[in-house]
Symmetry: C2
DNA sequence: CAGTATCCTATCGGATACTG
DNA sequence: CAGTATCCGATAGGATACTG
């Protein structure tokens, strides 16, 4: 009864988990895993995400300190997103999850 | 551009991820990680989850093939939940995530 | 004990259109 | 290009009460 008290009650770990407990956060973090990307590059790489949701997700991750936004002084103007060190620390868990997801994608019933 | 095509577009991995992309699935799976539990034991261990949501989450995981429900022929009647082999395979990613969540809980801004 | 039933709110997520 | 604005529908999630 000692190594399983991580997600008990309202422990901080639960709050932390909630930051990424949605359909897109993990994907976005994973998408930024190889390095900084511009908004449109990120959108293109992810595919199937709406402007609204991508922006929303980025803002949430920004507030959480996982992602950093950098305006680019280019013409036309642009913006770049990158993982913070904290964000990069999430890359490991996310990769493990990604591997699991791809390895077992065929085994589960989505809409039985 | 080759090892990062896991979460691209509508790949199966994304569908898989969606099964557990909510606030409670991970917690429930984690909660069942040490072995089968009765409904009330599970609820007690998790804490702070409503009946409705716990049931909902268990049913979703059941449909996904991650959790198995076993009615108990006891008096008073009960039910037991356990991870399937597939569910147990999720335990690894989930544990990694749990460790990350507890390790970095203090570093992120929840409501800045 | 193990749920189900209701109700209600908040957030998620998609589509479309518009702007600095 | 990189968003914002708006509208809308679908879930998620919480509280409370009730049942086999």
């Amino acid at each position: 009864m000692s190594d399983n008290d991580v997600f008990l009650a309202d422990c901080p770990a639960r709050t932390t988990l909630r930051l990424i407990a949605d359909a897109w956060s993990v994907v976005v973090v994973y998408g930024l895993g190889q390095g900084p990307l511009r908004y449109s590059e990120l959108a293109g790489r992810i595919g199937g995400i709406s402007n609204k949701v991508l922006t929303q997700t980025l803002r949430r991750l920004e507030r959480g300190g996982l992602v950093e936004r950098r305006p680019l002084a280019t013409a036309p103007p642009g913006a770049e997103y990158r993982l913070t060190p904290l964000g990069r620390s999430l890359l490991d868990p996310v990769s493990v999850l990604a591997r699991w997801a791809e390895d077992h994608a065929d085994e589960l019933g989505g809409d039985d």
